[in-house]
Subunit: 141 residues, 2 copies
DNA sequence: CCCTTTTTGAGACTGAGTCTCATTCGGATA
DNA sequence: TATCCGAATGAGACTCAGTCTCAAAAAGGG
């Protein structure tokens, strides 16, 4: 939607040797304009409801490009469908999922992040990426 | 294989109102006798190769019971198949997966565990369970 | 505008896991 | 130990997220 993001997107497509199409832009717009954690079917349906004709295949193909280029993060809440969220230059965060309401809360903890790198190194490895999800329930009060 | 585990297994079946069958025992044996992180198809094939006729449906159904009763832990390495490992009264641990070799390394860090509970509580929640996986690659030397 | 190459969409396909239901089995009872 | 009945099983149909195919459409450099 904003100019600099579109330019950034076009550059990525160029770098990947891919053409700029309205379907690809529509997928990126749809993900970018929401701060939610949505699944592919949901993204697909929204684009169609917005009047852009796109296929599921194109949605999945475009998401792959976005994920590869770190514009979108793929996450698994454990319900069998992958979910996606935009990464608009914002810092890393992990997720807390309420097992009662399904609500997703984002969190970031420096100490936790550092500790992970330390653990990997202690074992002779370098941390590439990580999956960290806390399944929680509201405290009784 | 050992008596106390079999008794424990029988008690769980009783508690769940389920009958003791050789298929169910075979599934538990197969998982119990390996310290690996195996998928359902692999467990299914091994049981059959050991000469016990069992169906995929029964393997999946039995695994569900074992997971529910915390005798088996279900984990997702991100390859589309769930993996299972026995929980023989041993302490909790998380996993490091080498992105180059696929090797799975287990680790446990008290500080990390405490931190997670603290984070949940700070947000008004109680930690129920968590998924934590470090994707790593060998340090260049 | 032309031409070549890439992209697209419809729907076939895949594969892990679930469900169905006729048949078999466990185990309580006598 | 034989009878009986509800529970368990197995074969395979089914589901559903995601992938693949390929003919038709669109991009975009010249
Ligand atoms: Mn998030
Ligand atoms: Mn393990
Ligand atoms: Zn993190
Ligand atoms: Zn842990």
């Amino acid at each position: 939607m904003n100019d600099s993001t579109i330019q950034n997107f076009k550059e990525i497509l160029r770098k990947e040797g891919l053409r700029y199409t309205k379907q690809r832009q529509a997928v990126w717009d749809e993900i970018q304009n929401s701060q939610e954690h949505r699944d592919a079917e949901d993204i697909y349906m929204s684009i169609r409801n917005n009047g852009v004709n796109v296929s599921r295949a194109t949605v999945y193909r475009t998401i792959d490009v976005l994920v590869k280029n770190r514009m979108v993060r793929k996450m698994d809440v454990g319900d069998g469908r992958n979910r996606y969220e935009p990464r608009l230059g914002d810092a890393h965060h992990d997720h807390m999922i309420c097992v009662e309401t399904g609500k997703i809360i984002e969190f970031y903890n420096e100490e936790l992040e550092d500790l992970q790198e330390k653990i990997a190194e202690e074992n002779g490895y370098m941390l590439v990426r990580h999956i960290h999800q806390l399944f929680v329930k509201p405290l009784k009060k």
